[in-house]
């Protein structure tokens, strides 16, 4: 496979039940995971500069090395739970190239010396689950893996794919986050050091093991090398999962999907924990960590959601925040009460109930937007998991990017676009099906 050519991960993707082991090996070569030297692999992944693709972008080699250096035999978990309703990239990857992910999982087992492996997939992604079950049967028959991976269905829910929630689930509990420390890499499944990697990250490991770090770095930017899967949706003619070289301009990705940033209302980048960009900002960024950081954004889990020109950013944000508040696991007070209060206050701004408040009338504390800003600062960092942090990041970025719109709603009540149906999928609003890419 030529180093500069895309797609890499999705080369040979079979939308009808997933590429077979035979097709996978014909395309990617015969390299057997069990024959790879663990030290070489960790060094190569480090040289490749691979970072986690589940949203947190943590260096993959560091995780591999830390988990492998404990006294107890580690456990490896492939995270394909994809709780983000706007994202479809992990389910697509699993359904179409299951063996690439399973090779990556087998390599993670080799790199860490793990004694068991689990593959977590969303209960709501039957195509991915069926493709994986078939792929695992093929591998068992071929004797390809030293450790047979166990397929685990993760209940739907925004927080159920969080690392400590997966550990809790695999230990026989409910899929809700637990208090950390200890972190999973210290004490996770069965009390063992546990490596949890997003399934796209593992697929990259499978290609790095075959082609090396230099090949991986042949596309992307020096700081953020390689390719990445993104889910493009919203105001584009051709939504769906794409593989891009990191460093690609946001404008060209959207144009490739048949959309136009200049005619949009903005872009939500990184999913519902993500960051809003106005059209001017959106036209200036490239999709890599360095460029996005200058706008306070990140690629996160790879969602690129283009807001249509005739949509209301206030109404869209309020719906997402209300949904996120409902997705709290209900364990930590600041998350349960804080997110609900923020959603209440924003709803009152959006629907006109808060009209006439703020603007120096009455006490300062009566301004609902000032209250929301204060709560955003207070709630962050005070849950067992990062759910409240992600939710208030979205709120803060909406208030910054669409400041004039929020003030206008506070002053004048709902706008003409408020009644427009949601542009992005929110399961409780019945949006998951209509917007499935």
């Amino acid at each position: 496979m030529s180093a500069a050519a895309l797609p890499r991960l999705l080369a040979g993707a079979d939308p009808h039940g997933g590429a077979t082991l035979r097709a996978h090996l014909d395309r990617h070569g015969l390299a057997a995971p069990t024959e790879v030297d663990p030290k070489w692999l960790v060094a190569e992944v480090e040289r490749a500069g691979l970072r986690g693709r589940g949203g947190a972008a943590f260096p993959t080699a560091t995780k591999l090395a830390v988990v492998g250096h404990g006294r107890r035999r580690p456990v490896v978990v492939a995270n394909g739970s994809e709780g983000e309703p706007a994202s479809a990239k992990d389910a697509t990857l699993l359904a179409q190239v299951p063996h690439l992910v399973l090779d990556g999982l087998a390599l993670a087992v080799v790199a860490t010396g793990a004694g068991s492996a689990h593959l977590c997939v969303a209960a709501g992604a039957p195509a991915a689950r069926d493709a994986l079950a078939a792929a695992l049967a093929e591998r068992a028959a071929a004797g390809r893996d030293a450790v047979a991976a166990e397929l685990v269905a993760v209940p739907d829910g925004y927080v159920s794919g969080e690392e400590s929630a997966l550990v809790h689930l695999l230990n026989g509990g409910r899929a809700v986050p637990t208090a950390v420390p200890p972190r999973p890499f210290e004490r996770g499944v069965g009390g063992r050091p546990t490596l949890i990697q997003n399934v796209e990250t593992l697929a990259h490991v499978a290609l790095i093991a075959r082609h090396g770090a230099d090949w991986h770095r042949a596309i992307g930017t020096p700081h953020d090398p390689g390719s990445a899967l993104v889910t493009l949706r919203g105001a584009v003619a051709r939504p769906g999962v794409r593989e891009i070289a990191l460093g690609t301009s946001l404008e060209s990705l959207v144009a490739h999907g048949g959309g136009e940033l200049a005619r949009s209302r903005g872009v939500l980048l990184g999913g519902y924990f993500g960051t809003w960009l106005d059209p001017t900002e959106a036209r200036r960024v490239t999709l890599d960590a360095e460029s996005l950081r200058t706008r306070g954004a990140s690629l996160g889990c790879g969602v690129v959601a283009v807001l249509p020109a005739d949509a209301c950013p206030v109404a869209e944000t309020v719906r997402i925040v209300r949904w996120l508040a409902g997705e709290s696991a209900g364990q930590c007070g600041p998350c349960v009460f804080g997110l609900a209060a923020i959603a209440d206050a924003l709803e009152q701004v959006a629907d006109g109930r808060a009209r006439g408040r703020g603007f120096g009338r009455g006490r300062r504390g009566d301004d609902p937007l000032a209250r929301v800003r204060r709560w955003c600062g207070e709630v962050a960092g005070r849950g067992a998991c990062r759910h409240p942090d992600g939710a208030v990041r979205l709120v803060a970025s909406a208030l910054k990017t669409f400041d004039a719109d929020f003030e206008d709603h506070l002053r004048n009540g709902p706008c003409g676009a408020c009644a427009r149906p949601s542009s992005f999928p929110l399961p409780q609003f019945g949006g998951a099906l209509e917007a499935a890419a």
């Binding site: 208090a179 930590c332 600041p334």
Partner: protein
């Protein structure tokens, strides 16, 4: 070498907003609008450590914790 004083931490799952901590240690604990404690992770002033231990012991759900500072590691390094 003297080790660094401990820091306050709240186990957010265990905490159910009794609010005793804010009464016993107002210097370092304030409550949010729903009665849950807000603490910062800075080292405790030495004269507050005893008060903080009492507050942690009095917490009905034992959600308030004192965590050892970075002192232990610093000591190891300095004696090498």
């Amino acid at each position: 070498m003297r080790s660094e004083p401990p820091r306050l931490r709240v186990d957010p799952i265990a905490c159910t907003a009794h609010g005793l901590c804010a009464e016993l240690l107002p210097e370092r604990v304030r409550l949010d609008d729903w009665g849950y404690p807000i603490v910062d992770g800075a080292p405790l002033e030495p004269e507050l450590v005893a008060h903080a231990r009492r507050a942690a012991a009095a917490c009905p759900t034992l959600a308030l914790k004192l965590e050892a500072g970075a002192g232990a590691r610093a000591t190891t390094r300095s004696t090498r």
